[in-house]
Symmetry: C2
Amino acid sequence: MPIWYDWLGKAMTDSILLDNASSVPIYRQLHRQLRGMIVGGTLIAGHRLPATRELAQDLGVNRATVSSAYALLEEEGLIHGHVGRGSFVSALNSETIDSKERTGRTSFESDSVGVTSYGRSALLSQASTEISFATSRPLAGLFPVEEFRESCQEVLGDEVAHTVLQLGSPLGYAPLRQYLMEEAELRGIGRSNDDILITNGCQQAIDLLARALLRPGDAVAVEEPVYPGLKAALLQAGARLVGVPVGKYGVDPEAFDRALERESPRFAVVTPSFQNPTGATVPEAARRSLLASARARGVMLVENDLYGELRYRGVAQPTVKSLDELGDTVLLGSFSKVAFPGLRVGWMIAPRPLIRKLAEIKQATDLHTDQLSQAVLLRFAESGRLGRHLERARRAGLAQLEAAVDGCRHYLPEGTSCTEPDGGLNLWVRLPAPLDADSLLSRAQMRGVSYLPARYFSVNRAEDRAFRLSFGGLTPDEIERGLRILGDVFREELERSTLAGVGEMATAMV
Amino acid sequence: MPIWYDWLGKAMTDSILLDNASSVPIYRQLHRQLRGMIVGGTLIAGHRLPATRELAQDLGVNRATVSSAYALLEEEGLIHGHVGRGSFVSALNSETIDSKERTGRTSFESDSVGVTSYGRSALLSQASTEISFATSRPLAGLFPVEEFRESCQEVLGDEVAHTVLQLGSPLGYAPLRQYLMEEAELRGIGRSNDDILITNGCQQAIDLLARALLRPGDAVAVEEPVYPGLKAALLQAGARLVGVPVGKYGVDPEAFDRALERESPRFAVVTPSFQNPTGATVPEAARRSLLASARARGVMLVENDLYGELRYRGVAQPTVKSLDELGDTVLLGSFSKVAFPGLRVGWMIAPRPLIRKLAEIKQATDLHTDQLSQAVLLRFAESGRLGRHLERARRAGLAQLEAAVDGCRHYLPEGTSCTEPDGGLNLWVRLPAPLDADSLLSRAQMRGVSYLPARYFSVNRAEDRAFRLSFGGLTPDEIERGLRILGDVFREELERSTLAGVGEMATAMV
């Protein structure tokens, strides 16, 4: 049945050499060798790969190892799976992949995990993308895997394991809700009429709010620029987005008030601490102004506090929610940025009637949030491991942040400006004219560096010259190397355009 | 700060006695003793409970133990949490809880995990509900916790751990998709244009389909009766539900064809194997008829195959998807019924363009499904542990099924009919006139037994006399005890109504 396997048979398998003593994981070794066979032409388009269980058996490795290697090949667009038929080597110049897919990404949050699959020609430029500033995420190398594993063991060795594995509540795992309630109390958050709903990260919290509160055409006030996930969830509900400019001190209170007065939005979403994409933070006095405006205009305020705990220097600001004596403000929190993005556990603190309504919608949406992750994250947090991890992450974050800001100063062309946040995972870079960050991206990618240009973040205003530099997922070293390369790319373009300008001028002269 | 704690002080803590040698888990011991204090009046309404960390310290137990005990009290409505203030003992006759909440449940899938919280008066009847036939779920006692724990350890001890904890793909964890694709192939499922999307259980698959395909007022054909989660997701999208009657052999092909012709639904959802709530299974010939109708009428067919693997006897039927040569049928699968409902991991196999569209919606909804559970379930499956668990679950399932069918025959009043499925977790019981399963529920609950009456499952037709008997979560012993009690309740009502009938007749005679 498997064409490739029958044809090349055992000879193929024999040519794969896996070294258990190597520091390179087995699945990566396998991936590299299969990749070499495809790129080198030993395996040509249409060849069927053996089933993972067959290859695993022949190579004497775990089936998961083969699956992981295939998965990497698939992500690179080198192979594609056909349900019911197996995995096949993809065509060299696939005509099924249009040029937009080859050069761009439809995914809004990451460069390697999007919905779009790449053709092989895209791969050839993608493959060299070693340094990605494109995703707002923490540094995987910092993940305390061993401590997380212990938390897992404790939960599953505990008498509560059966409860965790059984059907749960749409509101969330009760002991986690209890813990978060007490933690919120310590931070002065929450009023007597508030309740907590556990969500699949902050993204689902926004989606539930949109589904509960919006009718097509309703206005929602958001920051300008704002992160793409927020735009996607609100636009999906048919919202009309009203952008409120973000400056050095975050969203501008006066512009916010005017927008609320003029547009009467159904609600407003703000990220007062280390806003994504700019990294800007709103000072306390301005936070009070936002709150006063929301109350005066009768607009529900949604505070996205995803990054608040990632402060690397300076003085902590109180959440808007804690300043809100009436308690109408909705607070969104999550473990995804402070711990592990792969686990989808966030929460919302809001007035009880709203929480009940959202829990009903959530139940019809996906019953409840995964309980294994809820229980393990609870254990990770209440054992003190999360606190220790956060301390390490903050120390590392300061070094990453400084590398990013210093790198922008040293390597990017004169006239570049960048924000200088005190925390978070992102900063916002604006290039000098005539540099266009959007059209320069492909050239940067050819040199192995990527970022997300401003258009992904624009609400009502287009901006060509800016881009988001997400430094959270990279080491200081990678950040410096990446910015040096970007500096080269941008300076080359400046020189080219100066020459072109002279050339054009000369032409015009004659 | 904590009123209760200051007032009763150390004396309170001292009166709690926890026995490490007991087979009763510590958190249950603590729950019972706190419960005793509340019900007994030692702790009265408005008393504030100590924070979990304080009580844990005083008692020398893990904080999670106290959280779990509080969580149980909260679920019972004995205490309530105020974000920002702590946990308080609830009022005896809470006037904040209306009579509907006191007697009914708004939750659609379970009796103990719903959105609704119970007042204490509800608790007094709920508390004695020892045997619940209300939830379609597997038996927690069968969960192979140790094997699951090993799967967790292997994933987190593996080189892929960092990948699992980092941001993932909206399509799902690639190695799991690869595995499911190969498993589907072994079962003859999937065509060359198909792809796989990982969802948060089957519930999210339905929700995504509804969001992608439905406009308010669009018709969707579903089985009548049908499980409440399906109704909720479709109604949330504004669908108009068209019920197709389910008989002994599942959904009736002729009625199905007529409904498709008459109503031109946007799509049709069927559960051909061990349908929820009836347990009915569609024979192969009828499956082909459904497929032919869907194709002839141009209606997309969605096959919910949640229970297909839970066959305890008889001959396996091919999935409709595997009979579909063109491959347009959408197949929904999940680990929740065959393994652990608390982990929200399901999948959808469908034509690639649809999968891409749904993945984009999913990304805006919650980025992606939790990766810890995806990776651990993959390891659980490919290590052979899932297969061994399924064998045990099927053996246990046969005993449960036989206890349920035998119990209905032996204990329920003459004239009762019940379905006799060969697998699944549910059967459908119809009582003889004039018994009304809905109004008799509260009396059954007073005797410690619950079930879900027919109205939760009705689409277009009302039915008073039937109810769903979900036997999957109970041991054969509990099933027998529960049915004996239900038999008593129903027979008492029959006697009462006969007497009343005689009385009325006598009155009429004179």
